[in-house]
Amino acid sequence: MKIAVTSTGNSLDSQVDARFGRAANFIVVDTETMDFECISNDAVSAAGGAGISAAKTVVDSGAKAVLTGNCGPNAARTLAAAEIKLYANVSGSVEDAIEAFKSGQLAESTGPTVDSHFGTGN
């Protein structure tokens, strides 16, 4: 199964980016083989609708679940519409987050964890 983890860097030892919409990168990893690719998030500097375009990037990557820190309402709605599972409140390294997911330690989020524009300084 492919999952996407928001990441501040481009490798498995990078930290999980606390923001979804304006995360620096998505590490998309195959949980069976641990093969991964790093997709940079074009929405990081979007004027608006960052969460939605970030979610669209995840949809296009083929991932079926997202691991991140916080997720806003528009992103959560988009992920839900695409039937992508959301696991928020995740922190630490990307690798640890993946391991936690694989061992079933993460709880699925049922909706957004923060309001719009959270973490953009507004």
């Binding site: 969460g51 979610a55 709605r77 988009t78």
Partner: protein
């Protein structure tokens, strides 16, 4: 007859006294016999009505078009999502197309490009435009609906209700972002109201940069003159910016203001300053 003369009262910083200047100027010009239209473009928080106390004669809802996707017609090509710059319509594969009314800027790209004509235009209300009379002054204001972010569209609608005659006073929202740009469009002269404080100066610089970029003629009004420091003055001198008016830092003005009164009605000693300003604007014609 010459078309209207449009004066925009703007500022970088909020709370510098735009509405105080705009409403008193409207009153002063009307007293001189001019045809005056006061237009409150601060649609997120219009407050000119508190001072001008207009009789509202007309209220109209303002709506904008947003996409409504007919899934039966959709072929899942995704062109709608590709063209949208705001994430207001997103294609998630197949016929799974999601829309976000609040993010749409009504550019029309999605419904124009849809090869199946599967996107209808749905109307959503963004606010109201009200107009009426405040004594001799024609009064207009926009009121943005709670939760709507479409202030630019509402300002555009509001400005379309203004006649092309007489003196038009545009009370502009604070800041230097899109609603300000929309409000300033078509202005013949801009008055940038500021206060002699570091905050006032900081935001004045942004405002000056904006009006210069838009190629608009402008002058500065220093409100609460006498408080703070002289940096605004030095800045204006340095940049060759005309100081069109100074309003003294006077407790009486604050008292009149906080009771919803107007300087022009209550404080005779300041009345002449607004009369002078009307004359100054007349000379710009």
């Amino acid at each position: 007859m010459r078309k209207s003369f449009r004066v925009a009262i703007a500022s970088g910083k909020g709370g510098t006294g735009k509405t105080t200047i705009a409403t008193n100027l409207a009153k002063a010009a009307a007293e001189k016999g001019a045809t005056v239209q006061y237009v409150d473009c601060d649609v997120e928080e219009p407050n000119g009505h508190i001072f001008l106390k207009p009789q509202i004669e007309s209220r109209k809802d303002v709506t904008v078009s947003v996409p409504d996707v007919d899934k039966d017609k959709c072929s899942g090509c995704g062109k709608c999502g590709e063209v949208c710059q705001y994430g207001a319509i997103v294609h998630l594969g197949g016929k799974n197309v999601l829309t976000f009314d609040n993010l749409c800027h009504s550019c029309g790209g999605c419904w124009l490009l849809c090869p199946e004509q599967a996107i209808r235009q749905k109307q959503v209300k963004i606010g109201q435009v009200e107009s009426g009379k405040a004594g001799k002054v024609w009064f207009g204001q926009g009121i943005l609906s709670v939760g709507s972010v479409r202030s630019v569209s509402l300002i555009r609608h509001l400005k379309q209700t203004v006649d092309s005659e007489g003196l038009v006073i545009l009370d502009v929202p604070p800041g230097t972002s899109c609603p300000v740009v929309e409000s300033l469009k078509g202005a013949d002269f801009v008055m940038l109201v500021t206060e002699p404080t570091p905050f006032g100066l900081c935001d004045l610089k942004y405002a000056v940069e904006l009006v210069r970029k838009m190629g608009l003629r402008f002058g500065v009004v220093i409100n609460r003159d006498g408080c703070g420091d002289d940096r605004v003055e030095r800045y204006c001198e340095d940049k060759g910016i005309e100081i069109s008016m100074r309003v003294k830092d006077d407790r009486q003005i604050a008292q009149v203001y906080s009771a919803g009164g107007m300087i022009y009605d209550c404080l005779e000693e300041y009345r002449m300053q607004f009369d002078d300003m009307v004359e100054m604007l007349g000379a710009l014609l």
